[in-house]
């Protein structure tokens, strides 16, 4: 069964199909313009989605944390116990983990030395996940060490490490975390290890999610810092992610804008092609009108031609964009199949929809003009 037989029930579409087949090169070039427009819109959109997903992954779990340290207008060299209590009361259900920090050099038996940052805290479980051993709710004795550092020093679970003249048994190995400030070598000890330091360097508040973290950060700002004064420096990664998201959204819109320019150009090309072909076929359209084909039928026939260009260009363009998307996701995140997620597929549909709508819009004027040409005038050609 040929395409024409299949389209028998849709005479406008059938005629459109035949008309487009008459000048295949012109049809192909007009559709190619649409293909390029769709690729521009869809693949730029998908690139934006890939960037956004990658940024979210990189920021990881940090987005639900608020970090508090002493600000430039503080009278003390750290966060005081009283302030910690106030933070606790403002944080609600969120875990509040005050920390003191320092740095030291750990040496192995074979003389290998590693520079590590030292963090002293109690509620280790709120901040650290371990790959071996445990991450206690109350760290009273023993220590946690980053996995990679332990490997470098040949330290295993249960071995002692020395800090400030005291020995701590390693009871947990910390996974190296990604994100801000992570990835370095870290030794986690009980607060008692840094007891000579009066104030806390940092207080980390771990909220349920980014929104709650932002709300807590706002409350802390309001309570501790009046006007331009900065008693406590409050950093929320939620706001960081928000600004990155908003930047990426802006970038995405800009990319889509650039992409849609090419689709506008393509639809102007279609307008031109449709106008040319209806002018060339003026006599033929006059014959159609003379033998009793209604104006609406001529209109539908020519709109069907434009829609055909849009659908074919849209399908080919979406398929090509899918290919481009696979490459983009492969490069940015290593998982090409992420392109089949809704955020990316949405842009494929958007590109396709734009193509069809732009083509139809371009077809309206030539179709209207052809349909309303007086038959007598049209017959003269």
């Amino acid at each position: 069964m040929s395409v024409t037989d299949l389209l028998w029930r849709f005479p406008s579409v059938q005629m459109a199909w035949r008309n487009l087949g008459r000048n295949r090169v012109r049809t192909a070039l007009a559709a190619l313009g649409i293909v390029i427009g769709v690729i521009a819109i869809s693949s730029l959109g998908i690139a934006g989605v890939a960037l956004q997903q990658q940024a979210t992954t990189d920021l990881g779990s940090l987005t639900n944390e608020v970090s508090v340290s002493s600000g430039t207008d503080s009278t003390t060299d750290g966060v005081t116990d009283d302030q910690v209590e106030e933070i606790r009361s403002l944080a609600g259900d969120a875990a509040v983990v005050p920390q003191k920090s320092n740095a030291t050099t750990l040496s192995a038996r074979d003389g290998e030395e590693v520079f590590v940052s030292v963090t002293a805290l109690t509620q280790a479980s709120a901040l650290y996940t371990v790959s071996a051993g445990d991450s206690p709710d109350r760290l009273e004795s023993g220590a946690l060490l980053t996995n990679s550092t332990a490997g470098q020093l040949g330290i295993e679970l249960g071995d002692p490490v020395e800090y400030d003249g005291r020995l701590y048994r390693v009871r947990g190995l910390i996974e190296s975390s990604g994100g801000f400030g992570g990835g370095g070598s870290e030794l986690v000890v009980p607060l008692s290890a840094l007891s000579e330091q009066e104030h806390y360097d940092t207080v980390t508040v771990v909220a349920a999610d980014g929104d709650e973290a932002q709300a807590i950060a706002d409350r802390l700002e309001a309570r501790f810092n009046e006007g331009d004064e900065e008693v406590l420096s409050v950093t929320s990664f939620a706001s960081t992610q928000e600004s990155i998201d908003s930047f990426l959204n802006t970038l995405n819109l800009a990319l889509l804008g650039i992409g849609s320019i090419s689709l506008v150009v393509a639809s102007v090309a279609i307008l031109n092609v449709m106008l040319m072909s209806t002018i060339e076929r003026r006599g033929e359209i006059g014959v159609l009108r003379a033998v009793g084909i209604r104006r609406g039928e001529v209109l539908r026939m020519i709109l069907a031609e434009a829609a055909f260009l849009g659908v074919v260009g849209g399908v080919v363009g979406a398929a090509a964009s899918l290919g481009v998307g696979l490459v983009i996701f492969q490069v940015l995140s290593g998982d090409p199949l992420l392109v089949f997620g809704w955020p990316s597929v949405r842009y494929l549909l958007l590109g396709f929809g734009f193509a069809v709508v732009a083509s139809l819009l371009s077809g309206i004027y030539p179709a209207w003009k052809a349909a309303n040409d007086p038959p007598v005038e049209a017959l003269r050609g």
């Binding site: 087949g21 033929e284 209604r294």
Partner: protein, 221 residues
Amino acid sequence: MTVVELEDAVKRYRSGEQTIEALKGVDFAAERGEMVTVIGPSGSGKSTMLNLVGLLDTPTEGTVRVDGRDVTDFTEDELTEERRSGIGFVFQAFHLLPMLTATENVELPSMWDTSRDRRDRAVDLLRRVGLGDRLDHTPSQLSGGQQQRVAIARALINEPKVLLADEPTGNLDQDTGRTILDELTRLKEEEGIAIVAVTHDEQLLEYADRVVRLVDGVIQE
């Protein structure tokens, strides 16, 4: 029985500053089963008259009737319906659509009536004009005479009451022209269709039941 009728039809064209009067009060009628040939020098208003009779154009003054109904003030859409149901056209240059087969060209006027069994009827008409073996040929694969016979079959698909032919033999040699005229005569006799032909061709006069001579927009009997 009168199928189409012009009464005191005047047609004026505006051409720049000038107004050209192509028809100056023409009375014309075609009856069922007769072939009327309209002759006259070029510029005499033959084509204008045929356009009025074929409802492709409306007169500036006067009346147009189809089956006794006044259609002078019909809208373009109403005129289209009249053409679709009652009038067949045959042109000098055949005017077949090049991308369609002979059968599809014949189907064309009823293409948008999907309910009708148009394919069978188109094939039947092509067989009747002697093109049963050329059904799937495109116009470029057909001779001039064959193309004109396809055009005649196309004009008949909607069972018209009147068939209008503008120089039907103009692009054909004498022998081929004769077969076309024989075809039209057969239609006239078998189907009782009124045929109005506009021509320069002397040959057509032999076939005409009646000749109307048009000079400077006026009919001279």
